[in-house]
């Protein structure tokens, strides 16, 4: 899958790394594991942002930096790092402003991962 500009949504180098380490089985297991917990974590972060709980937002965003990055979801990883920084600084207004982009990047990454999962 590609973004509207034609660039791949998932970094093929990172996907190839997971395949090299543990074959398609590891890639599939990594995706399944990520999908098993990440959506609920993002929901939690959105709810936390609504109540001004920046510590929870920062914790969720921090966790997504490495997991998304390992899966090659570079845009999601980058926005998660940005959100973590804003939340850690207590800037709840800036967090709220970036939530739609975070949610969109997450949705795009999940769709791309689901596509890869069917052909690991």
């Amino acid at each position: 899958m590609t973004d509207p500009a034609g660039a791949p949504l998932l970094d093929p180098v990172m996907l190839a790394k997971l395949r090299k380490i543990g074959g398609p089985a590891l890639l599939t297991r990594f995706i399944d594991t990520f999908m098993s917990y990440a959506p609920a974590r993002v929901d939690l972060a959105e709810a936390a942002a609504g109540s001004g709980d920046t510590a929870t937002v920062a914790a969720v965003a921090h966790g997504l930096i490495s997991s998304a990055g390992q899966l090659g979801a570079t845009e999601l990883s980058a926005i998660s790092r940005e959100i973590e920084g804003l939340a850690s600084a207590g800037d709840i207004a800036a967090v709220a402003a970036r939530l739609p982009a975070w949610r969109a990047a997450f949705g795009s990454a999940l769709a791309a991962l689901d596509h890869i999962r069917s052909n690991p």
């Binding site: 990172m14 790394k17 997971l18 380490i21 543990g22 590891l26 297991r29 990594f30 594991t33 990520f34 098993s36 917990y37 914790a59 921090h62 966790g63 930096i65 490495s66 997991s67 990055g69 390992q70 990883s77 790092r81």
Partner: protein, 129 residues
């Protein structure tokens, strides 16, 4: 009983544990812990040759786990490598300044850095450096 060196992985994200298990299997006996308290209890019962310790653990964070390890006569000499997505300029120095013996950034882009850090520290601890 395996003769492989024992490495403790302390990491709350299940996908990161999965990756580390895949990377370390065959080279090390891996003990996985999801939290700081579980790691402290497990390391006391089965002391590892090295510890890979996530910084941003919920509850007791990696810095506090390190402090408690260093305060325990039986565990203080175990090399501890910070495993973290904090990978901005200055973070490496900050973690080494806290007393970590090494630093590996997540996501893991070059696994040879992880292998090198572990081998260097385990060899140093067993006098084979």
């Amino acid at each position: 009983m395996s003769d492989l060196p024992r490495v403790a992985v302390v990491e709350d994200n299940p996908d990161n544990r999965l990756l580390l298990q895949a990377l370390l299997a065959g080279r090390y006996t891996v003990d996985e812990y999801e939290s700081g308290p579980a790691a402290l209890a497990g390391c006391a019962a089965r002391p590892p040759h090295a510890i890979l310790l996530d910084i941003s653990l919920p509850g007791m964070d990696g810095g506090e786990v390190l402090r408690r390890l260093r305060g325990d006569d039986a565990l203080r000499s175990i090399p501890v490598i910070a495993l973290t997505a904090h990978a901005m300029a200055g973070d490496r120095e900050r973690f080494l300044g806290m007393g970590f013996d090494g630093y590996v950034a997540k996501p893991i882009i070059d696994e040879t850095l992880l292998y090198d850090a572990l081998e260097r520290m385990i060899a140093g601890r067993t006098g084979n450096a």
